[in-house]
Symmetry: C2
Subunit: 193 residues, 2 copies
DNA sequence: CGGCCGACCGATCGATCGATCGGTTTTGTC
DNA sequence: GACAAAACCGATCGATCGATCGGTCGGCCG
């Protein structure tokens, strides 16, 4: 389910890499740190992945695939009205960036560290998420429920707002995830109204 | 003046470092690349800066100081009404992230690469910018012109919106800087209305 | 039991890293 | 034009980088 964040769902090696990448960044992380975090020797790590770049690519691909499936799932079981559908997508995005904070953070900040075609593949997945938001906004305009003169910029702003959550949210912070979601859902609504 | 982006204003060495950092990131950049970009030998580069970390810190400090002075300047010669003052700050932020795109991008993304107290000093400057936005929002609430129930979150959202511009804007893109500014000023207004 | 394969490791590779050395050239001042 | 200071450089340092090597181990299949 798109609201379920209990199960692991990530290769233990990638889960370990995620923690180190989140703390030090891709280029700031050494193969030896990745191996140690995974509880393996350097050679043992290379048995599972061909290179450091391979680890990053497998990680962000796994994370973005998870996000895409959740966004699609959030739309599938949504009430048919545009207001609900827009809220579902935004709520899904907020939940993901709250509950998979480090994964979402690494995926969004290490775009620059992806080499060659890997970067384009990532951007394509990123664009699909943003397109899902824009689709709901345009549908809302057609239905007369939204009135933003700039649906494309509004969609990017909503996405930026949600992605940004992963940059500042702290689990022990002032507000609960539910409250953060409520407030930013309201901010997103104002962007498209 | 806070709208003037003609003059250089940056140490040539830092200007060269800016280009390389923007393209490859701090940890992805070598001292030799920095020296080559500055037209110096490695030893010649070390005559001006004590370390690679020193170069990054001098760069982001210079950039953030510039931004802070512009924000203050934008408020100083503003009409006294809250609507104008809010618009001034947001316009100043948007211009900075449009016309100093690479500098703003590096300053915002390489926060993680700052070591020790340098990071805290940067965060303090960053918070001062966001506080300037929040101050205008609160003033607008007091004056009855704004109505957002979450001024703190709205201020962060406005800042995120402006900073994000540096991540996607391309000078040869579809819209002119003036048009980008106009549209995002409208989005910012909706966030606080 | 014998053979094999995936999982894993210690040791080490060549390359490159950030940084430093002693020494040379350029520049500004009187 | 003497001279000190600033600017700059070739050569090289020890450390560490990503990656690879030959080999060990344990469990599964016949």
């Amino acid at each position: 389910m798109w609201r379920d964040y209990d199960k692991a769902g990530l290769d233990p090696i990638l889960e370990a890499a995620l923690q180190v990448f989140a703390a030090k960044g891709y280029h700031g992380t050494t193969i030896r740190e990745l191996a140690a975090a995974a509880g393996l020797s350097v050679a043992g790590l290379y048995h599972h992945y061909a290179s450091k770049q391979d680890i990053l690519f497998a990680l962000v691909t796994s994370v973005m695939t998870d996000l895409l499936e959740r966004v699609e799932g959030a739309l599938e079981d949504s009430p048919p009205d545009v207001g609900s559908r827009f809220a579902r997508v935004v709520e899904c995005m907020l939940h993901f960036h709250l509950f998979q904070r480090e994964a979402a953070f690494v995926a969004s900040t290490e775009l620059r560290s992806l080499e060659g075609s890997h970067r384009q593949e990532y951007v394509a997945m990123r664009d699909r998420v943003q397109a899902a938001i824009e689709t709901q906004i345009v549908a809302g305009l057609d239905a007369g429920e939204f009135s933003t003169p700039f649906p494309h910029e509004a969609a990017r702003a909503v996405a930026t707002l949600c992605v940004g959550v992963a940059s500042w949210y702290q689990p022990d912070g002032e507000h609960s995830p539910a409250e953060v979601t409520r407030r930013h859902l309201e901010l997103a609504r104002r962007l498209v109204m």
